[in-house]
Amino acid sequence: MEKVKHIQGTIVAIPVNDIDTDQIIPARFLKVTDKDGLGKAAFCDWRYLDDGSTPNPDFILNNPAYAGASVLIAGNNFGCGSSREHAPWALIGAGFKAVISTEFADIFRNNALKNGLLPIIVDEETQEQLFSLADEDPSTSVSVDVDAQRLTLPDGRQIQFPLDGFSKYCLLNGVDQLGYLLNLDDEVRDYEARNPQRVATTA
C-alpha cells in the first residue's frame, strides 16, 4: 500500500443518509476478477439515466464544476450493507482519497482503510458546514494531516478526527496488514498447538 500522509483536494457532497454499498457499486458489477474499471461504475444507478450510459445531468458527480474532487462529503452512516471491498475500490477508481461523514459502517471502514481511502468522522455541525461549502463553491478545498488527525477547512478551522493508532501507523508507513500477520507465524503455531481444530473440511 502507498503511504498516505497528507490529502489535499476539492470536495463534493452527496448529502444522503445511509448510502449503502449497493448504491456505491451495484452488484451486477461484482462479476469482475480484478479491481480495474470499477471507478466508472461508482454510483452507477444515480450517475446514469435509465439507459445505463447517458450521464444524469442532475447528479452532482456529473457536474463539470466538481470534476477532480477527491474528498467526498456524505450523509450519516456511509457504506452500510454488504462487505464488498469493491465499494472502496470503486471510490478510489473514481478519484476519491477520503470520505467525510458522521458515521461509517464497520466493514466499509475496515475495507477503506486497507486500501488507503481515509474515512473521516466529523460531527453534524461540521458535516452541515461542508455540505454548504461544497454547494456554494465547487472550488472549495480541504486538507488532511493524517498524523495529526486533523482536517483543515478553507476558513482555517481545524477539526480533529478519530483514527485508531494501528490504522494510522499503516497509512503513514504504507504498511499492509498482511505483512504484519505473516510475521506472527510462531504465535499462530503456538495457538494451534494449544487448540485442536474444530472441524476439518478436507476430511
Binding site: 448529502p15 444522503v16 443518509n17 445511509d18 449503502d20 449497493d22 448504491q23 451495484p26 452488484a27 451486477r28 461484482l30 462479476k31 469482475v32 476478477t33 480484478d34 479491481k35 444507478d45 435509465d50 445505463g52 450523509g75 450519516n76 452512516n77 452500510c80 450493507g81 454488504s82 462487505s83 464488498r84 471491498e85 469493491h86 458515521e103 459502517a105 464497520d106 466493514i107 475496515n110 475495507n111 486497507k114 485508531d164 493508532g165 494501528f166 501507523y169 499492509d176 496488514q177 498482511l178 504484519y180 500477520l181 505473516l182 506472527l184 507465524d185 504465535e187 499462530v188 495457538y191 494451534e192 487448540n195 481444530q197 474444530r198 472441524v199 476439518a200 473440511t201 478436507t202 476430511a203
Partner: protein, 476 residues
C-alpha cells in the same frame, strides 16, 4: 465459566478463546479463525494477491468454498448441467474453480449435490458449531451466530489475510443484549422479530456492536428461525449476532456430516454447555421487545430499517422531526412511488421471491408450501421459490413441496442467491413491486428500478395468492 471470577458474556468467551494476541494500545487483537467460507464473488482478488506474493493457503482444511452469488438458478439441461449464459459470471466461476483447485480448498461447484448459499451449507453440513470463529467475504456471515459462534463478514483484503495466515486483526466490538420476551402469536415469525428489531434501532443502531439475542421468544425458535434472526444482524449495523447454544442447537447439529461423533460429541457438549453468558455479565447496551406485541412486519422504504407492522400506514416525511431522516424518507417514498399515509395492505404486486440466506431453508419452504397448498398464485404475480441449497432442494422434493408450488403456479428453481442480489439473471424489471423474503431493499438491490417489500415467507405466500400485499393471519 468465569475468567478470574469475572462473569463474561457469550461473545467475550468466544473472543477470549481465540485471541492469538490481545488487543493493545498500539494494535488490534489478532483473532484465530476456525472456519473460513469462500465464494466466487469476493475471493478472486484475494487469491491473486496470494499468487503475487508467492503465498499458500495456510489451512485449506479450515476452508470451504461454494458457488452461490453469480450462479443462475435456471433448470438443468438434458445433461443435468445448469448452463451459465453470462460470460463474465462464467469466467468468475471458472476462476474460482481454478483457485480452489490450485490452493487445495474443497469446493462445491454449481450443480454439485452439496452446493448452495454459503450461509445455508455451513450449518446444514454441521460445519457451523458453537464457540467457533467463522468468517466469509459476505456480510450475512452473521447467520452462523445462531449456533453461538462468533461469525462476521469481512472484505476481500481480509479474505486474503485469513487464507494466508488463518488470523485477522480485529478491534474488540461492544456488546448489545437484544431481549425478546414472551411468546409469538400465530402467523408471526422469526423474520418479523428481526424486522421489528431493525425498525426499532435503525440500520446504524448496532454499529460497533455484537448482538446477543436472548429471551423466551428467541429460545422458542427453531435453529432455522434463529438463523433468520442472526442473518439480519448486519441490517441493524452489527457485524455479528449470537444466540447461546442449548438443546435445540445440539439436536440440530447431531448427526450432520461434520458434527463431532461418539466420544468427541460428549466432550463437545461439555464445552458448548459452558458458553452461555454468565449470570451478572454486563452488556454495553440492552433493548427489550415483547413478542406478543409483534404482528407481521413489512418494509416500505429503501433500507431495512424502514419497516412497520403490516397493518400500519406509510409514515409521512412532514411528521419526521429529524431533517436528515425527513430527506431520506422523501427520497425513499419517491423511489418506491408510495404516498405518506398510504396502507401497504392491498397494494398490487408483480413478483414474490421466496429464497435467500434469510429464508430459503426447509422450514421456510414448508411454511410457504403449507399456506399455498390448494390455493393459486394470482394471475398477475410471478412467484419464484429458490431453495438455499441442493440439499434443501432434494429434501423439499422428497416431501412433495416442489409439486405444491408448481401446482399453484410458482417457479421452482435451482439453489443460489438468485433475486436477492440480481447479479445472476434473476431480477426485477424497473418499476416492479416485489414481496421478498430476502434481507435488503436498497434501491436497485433486486434489479435496477425494482421495488422491494421485505417480509416473512408467510406474508410473501399470502401476498402471492392475493396478488396484493396481504396479512397472512387473516388467511391462515
Amino acid at each position: 465459566m468465569t475468567n478470574n471470577g469475572r462473569p463474561r458474556t457469550l461473545f467475550e468467551k468466544v473472543w477470549d478463546a481465540h485471541t492469538v494476541r490481545d488487543q493493545s494500545e498500539d494494535s488490534p487483537a489478532v483473532l484465530y479463525i476456525d472456519l473460513h467460507l469462500v465464494h466466487e464473488v469476493t475471493s478472486p482478488q484475494a487469491f491473486s494477491m496470494l499468487r503475487e506474493r508467492g503465498l499458500r493457503v495456510r489451512r485449506p482444511d479450515l476452508t470451504i468454498g461454494t458457488m452461490d452469488h453469480s450462479t443462475p438458478t435456471t433448470p438443468r439441461n438434458e445433461l443435468g448441467i445448469i448452463p451459465v449464459a453470462d460470460a463474465m459470471a462464467a469466467k468468475q466461476l471458472d476462476t474460482f474453480t481454478q483457485n480452489c483447485g490450485d490452493f487445495g480448498i474443497p469446493m462445491y461447484a454449481l450443480g454439485d449435490e452439496h452446493q448452495g448459499i454459503v450461509h445455508v451449507i455451513g450449518p446444514e453440513k454441521g460445519l457451523t458449531q458453537p464457540g467457533m470463529t467463522i468468517v466469509c467475504g459476505d456480510s450475512h456471515t452473521s447467520t452462523h451466530g445462531a449456533f453461538g459462534a462468533l461469525a462476521f463478514g469481512i472484505g476481500t483484503s481480509e479474505v486474503g489475510h485469513v487464507l494466508a495466515t488463518q488470523t485477522l486483526l480485529q478491534n474488540k466490538p461492544k456488546t448489545m443484549a437484544v431481549n425478546v420476551e414472551g411468546k409469538l402469536e400465530e402467523g408471526v415469525t422469526a423474520k418479523d422479530i428481526i424486522l421489528a428489531i431493525i425498525a426499532r434501532i435503525g440500520i446504524g443502531g448496532g454499529t460497533g456492536h455484537v448482538f446477543e439475542y436472548r429471551g423466551e421468544a428467541i429460545r422458542g425458535l427453531s435453529m432455522e428461525g434463529r438463523m433468520t434472526v442472526c442473518n439480519m444482524s448486519i441490517e441493524g449495523g452489527a457485524r455479528a449476532g449470537m444466540i447461546a447454544p442449548d438443546d435445540t442447537t445440539f439436536e440440530y447439529i447431531s448427526g450432520r456430516k461434520y458434527a463431532p461423533s461418539s466420544a468427541d460429541w460428549d466432550a463437545a457438549l461439555a464445552d458448548w454447555g459452558r458458553l452461555p453468558t454468565d449470570d451478572g455479565a454486563a452488556y454495553d447496551q440492552e433493548i427489550t421487545l415483547r413478542a406478543e406485541e409483534l404482528i407481521p412486519m413489512i418494509t416500505y422504504g429503501t433500507n431495512p430499517g424502514m419497516g412497520m407492522p403490516i397493518t400500519a400506514a406509510v409514515p409521512a416525511p412532514d411528521e419526521e422531526r429529524d431533517y436528515n431522516k425527513k430527506i431520506a424518507l422523501d427520497k425513499a417514498l419517491a423511489y418506491m412511488d408510495l404516498q405518506p399515509g398510504q396502507q401497504l395492505l392491498g397494494k398490487p404486486i408483480d413478483v414474490v421471491f421466496i429464497g435467500s440466506c434469510t429464508n430459503s431453508r426447509i422450514s421456510d419452504l414448508r411454511q410457504a408450501a403449507k399456506f399455498i397448498e390448494g390455493r393459486q398464485v394470482a394471475e398477475s404475480v410471478r412467484m419464484m421459490v429458490v431453495p438455499g441449497s441442493q440439499q434443501v432442494k432434494r429434501q423439499a422434493e422428497s416431501e412433495g413441496l416442489d409439486a405444491v408450488f408448481r401446482a399453484a403456479g410458482a417457479e421452482w428453481r435451482e439453489a443460489g442467491c438468485s433475486m436477492c442480489i440480481a447479479m445472476n439473471g434473476d431480477q426485477l424489471e424497473p418499476g416492479q413491486y416485489a414481496v421478498s423474503t430476502s434481507n435488503r431493499n436498497f434501491e436497485g438491490r433486486q434489479g435496477k428500478g425494482g421495488r422491494t417489500f421485505l417480509a416473512s415467507p408467510l406474508t410473501a405466500a399470502a401476498s402471492a395468492v392475493a396478488g396484493v400485499v396481504s396479512d397472512p393471519r387473516a388467511m391462515l
